[in-house]
């Protein structure tokens, strides 16, 4: 009996330790090889080939790989290269449009000036709450842009400015909160994080310059380890791309199950899909979102690691989450970190100090409701430009409901976390993971890529999943 149990435990351990891609960074000979010139060239070549899957042209992949090669062989110039290349790319991309180029450089300049002001006058009102001032200023620019006469020069300038600010505002915000970090701050690295070379969405990957300073490889061995991890992550991203292709072919091509967006559109158009198809599309949509976010994050973090920064993965085993808060942390780590750093901590450290539960719930709402809603509202600034401010806000009600339910669920999840967890594989892991998946699946009805459906359409679709029709 004891022998049987021991054998079962050993099998579980072996399964847990199984890796589709071996842990190359733990093999001493591999780490030694990765420190040699031949090893570095081999890794860079393999990485460059892998990038061809993701970059629109091989030339772009080659240019990026060359930058990585410079940083690998001359790590002392790493920060300089990282600081200069985003500016060079901006100039190359927009030199034919002087207005766009000027505004782009002006936004970067504004970020640097704000960063300098926050450091220069830390006790001033701005120095105390620089991110609040930044976001208020950004909101004011949006309001002014809405007020400008359509197709006039101020309209063109202001909406171009809104678009650029939307893509830079969170990077500048990270630079502003870095003002109090130690060791001493340095401008080149701050500039490097304004849309870093390795790419990003509107969410800064991986956070700001303070974080980069802490995770930078300090010697050839650390660089070899982090680059091996980067190479592995890119390989993993490529495997997921293949998986994604066959997934779509099978479920949406062969089985003809509508995508989540299509199923909602069919419902809105009065030709709803069959009940089982609505559920199937919802469940598939949940997994597809995880897949696409994983691929995106892995590609960016792999490149960041190749540049010498040991960043944590953006998506890490989200399906193993046993609480709603844990899933939120594992699914899109750097977006969660943005909400935590810029909204949760400032609210938590300032308000409701005497009321533990209220304090936690308030800070969670500041992040998951207000921060989340503000991020997505300003990210989709084209809707505000095309539909006008009030209509855009009115049509945002489904997302607001999504953010409110998410914030409430996260609050409950965080407060409940302190209790003892159930034991056993089924009660302790499978059942909670299923519940978490089901929650996010159902919530995704209110977070589709189509922002212009009224809330009633989302609610109607949601109710129809449970045979309730109105």
């Amino acid at each position: 009996m004891v022998a049987q149990m021991h054998s079962s435990q050993s099998l579980r351990n072996r399964l847990a330790e199984f890796r589709l891609i071996p842990r190359l960074e733990t093999f001493p000979r591999m780490v030694s090889f990765a420190q040699t010139s031949l090893g570095r060239i081999t890794m860079l070549a393999a990485f460059g080939l892998g990038l061809c899957y993701f970059f629109p042209s091989p030339l772009l992949a080659l240019s990026f790989t060359l930058m990585l090669a410079f940083m690998t062989f001359m790590p002392e110039y790493r920060r300089f290269i990282l600081a200069v290349t985003p500016i060079v790319f901006v100039v190359l991309q927009s030199y034919r449009e002087p207005l766009l180029l000027g505004l782009n450089l002006a936004v970067v300049g504004l970020g640097i000036v704000l960063y300098w002001c926050a450091m220069r006058w830390p006790k001033s009102r701005f120095g105390q709450r620089p991110v609040a001032f930044l976001l208020a200023g950004f909101t004011a620019v949006i309001v002014f842009a809405c007020a400008a006469a359509p197709h006039s020069l101020p309209y063109t300038i202001l909406w171009n400015l809104v678009g650029l600010m939307a893509s830079y505002v969170w990077f500048i915000a990270y630079a502003l909160i870095d003002r109090s970090s130690k060791p001493a701050r340095d401008l080149p690295l701050e500039m490097a994080t304004f849309h870093p070379l390795w790419g990003s969405t509107n969410v800064p990957f991986p956070k700001g310059a303070a974080y980069l300073r802490r995770i930078e490889a300090q010697n050839p061995e650390q660089l070899a380890v982090v680059q091996l991890k980067g190479l592995k992550l890119l390989a993993w991203a490529i495997l997921l791309v293949f998986f994604q292709v066959y997934w779509f072919r099978f479920f949406h091509g062969y089985l003809r199950i509508p995508t989540a967006d299509q199923a909602l559109a069919m419902s809105v158009n009065g030709t709803p899909a069959a009940w089982h198809l609505r559920w199937e599309s919802l469940i598939l949509g949940f997994f597809e979102l995880i897949l696409s976010i994983s691929i995106l994050g892995h590609r960016i973090i792999a490149s960041c690691r190749m540049a010498g920064f040991n960043a944590l993965r953006n998506t890490y085993r989200p399906l193993s989450s046993t609480t709603i808060a844990e899933f939120f942390n594992r699914f899109y780590y750097y977006f969660k970190e943005l909400l935590v750093d810029l909204f949760f901590y400032p609210a938590f450290l300032r308000y409701w100090k005497g009321h533990k539960r209220v304090r936690m719930a308030f800070a969670t709402f500041a992040a998951a409701f207000f921060g989340n809603a503000f991020f997505h509202f300003t990210r989709d600034w084209q809707i505000i430009r095309d539909e006008g401010l009030w209509k855009a806000i009115a049509n945002y009600e489904a997302v607001l409901l999504y953010c409110a339910v998410l914030a409430a669920a996260l609050s409950v999840s965080q407060l409940r976390k302190r209790g003892p967890r159930p034991v056993g594989l089924f009660r302790g892991h499978v059942l909670p993971a299923f519940g978490v998946g089901l929650f996010y699946c159902l919530l995704s009805v209110f977070d589709t890529s189509e922002r212009m459906y009224p809330l009633a359409e989302h609610l109607r679709y949601f109710a129809s999943l449970f045979f309730i029709h109105f």
Binding site: K182, I215, K336, Y345, R350, K356, M360, Q414
Partner: protein, 83 residues
């Protein structure tokens, strides 16, 4: 007066609650390494507020300050010196 042992106990408890039974040295990175999450940082903040009267809204908050037992202890000592 609470000291390093209490901090160690708190951190060990948070790690155990996260299912992390690995070894814990005083210099080990907690947040940067991903062993503890933001919600766990909140527990540490509350512990420091309640036991040592540290007000992060006043002194500014940086996760580096609480990234290891040594760092937390240094923060506590600095607060005690201020008082």
């Amino acid at each position: 007066m609470k000291g390093k042992a209490e901090i160690h106990e708190l951190v060990q408890g948070l790690l155990t609650a996260c299912g992390d039974d690995g070894s814990l040295a005083d210099g080990d990175s907690l947040l940067l390494s991903g062993r503890l999450q933001s919600i766990d940082a909140v527990e540490i903040v509350v512990f420091l507020e309640e036991n040592f009267g540290i007000d992060f809204a006043q002194i500014g908050f940086d996760r580096d300050q609480i990234d290891s037992i040594d760092a937390i202890y240094a923060l506590v000592q600095a607060a005690m010196n201020r008082n």
